[in-house]
Symmetry: C2
Subunit: 199 residues, 2 copies
Amino acid sequence: MILGSPHLQRLVDAFRRLPGVGGKTAERYALHLLAAPQDAAEELAAALQEARRAVCHCGTCRNLSDSDPCRICSDPRRDHGIICVVEKPAGAMAIERSGIYRGLYHVLHGAINPLEHIGPEELRIDLLLNRLKEGAIREVILATNATTEGETTAHYLSRLIAPLGVRVTRIAHGVPIGSGLEYADEATLLRAIEGRGNF
Amino acid sequence: MILGSPHLQRLVDAFRRLPGVGGKTAERYALHLLAAPQDAAEELAAALQEARRAVCHCGTCRNLSDSDPCRICSDPRRDHGIICVVEKPAGAMAIERSGIYRGLYHVLHGAINPLEHIGPEELRIDLLLNRLKEGAIREVILATNATTEGETTAHYLSRLIAPLGVRVTRIAHGVPIGSGLEYADEATLLRAIEGRGNF
């Protein structure tokens, strides 16, 4: 036990449960907050409780939000004819940060994964289909991850959506901008060459 | 603002104040806790508040502790004739983890740094001297960091302690175990060669 302090140990253990945080990093966080002015620890504790209380899922797009419908779903300046389907809120966040997209989102909170018993029911794909059946959507961009699960989900969705007369597209995959061919793995190069376009 | 959620933004901002945590890592922590079961966030918040309330400085060695005197200062099986002086609680923690040391500690909570206006008063070096004047201490191991400030502090302490008739030692510096010469910087190599011993 850390210096025989169960309280310090409890704090370190709580930090260790964060993604990618090991024992030494957790210790560093805990010691930093105990050495910092009182309000730094108080602020983190209050922010945690407040976010847990106030942040919910938008009833329309299932993204994280303070309000329902969320700011994006209720923004009349967004294009309400396009939905971008992502696995996680972090994906929507990354696209928002790029500033390139002005349509709506739909967050699945996962991807189809039979081994983990995650299927269409768990992802509430019915909610996405209900949005499409309302008739205002002309395109669905599938932006699930480029993993086996993400590809499976994209294929499943495209077969479900195509009969509804909605255009289905998939984000492009290839060599990242700013990176050289020598850093790309074989699967990425394969997709980059298969997906080549006219110059 | 992240997805237009001030609550999520506040949580991300609070995580960003942790050492070495940038925007993306803070976002990852926040999204993880909002996706995890309710009790993960609650537990971290409660652990923070509890640690802040319960963890204090030992009145003898100034280390972090749940009790005063701390578990180490009040342990009769430790050697009460040796004090190891460290800058931070993390230093004492690292030495404890090695299991090699059975004496007591003294935590300065910093090092002498004239540019930051940190001198002997701020480090409460009088408290260390009081412990030595009680007469039971036969050795002080200076384990301040191998930085300019740490070395300055070690020199200052050694000049102050030597007249009290207490043996003053400094931890060894050199090439880390398990590492090759090619990875050591020049200052470390200099110390490794200067400090060489008979084989």
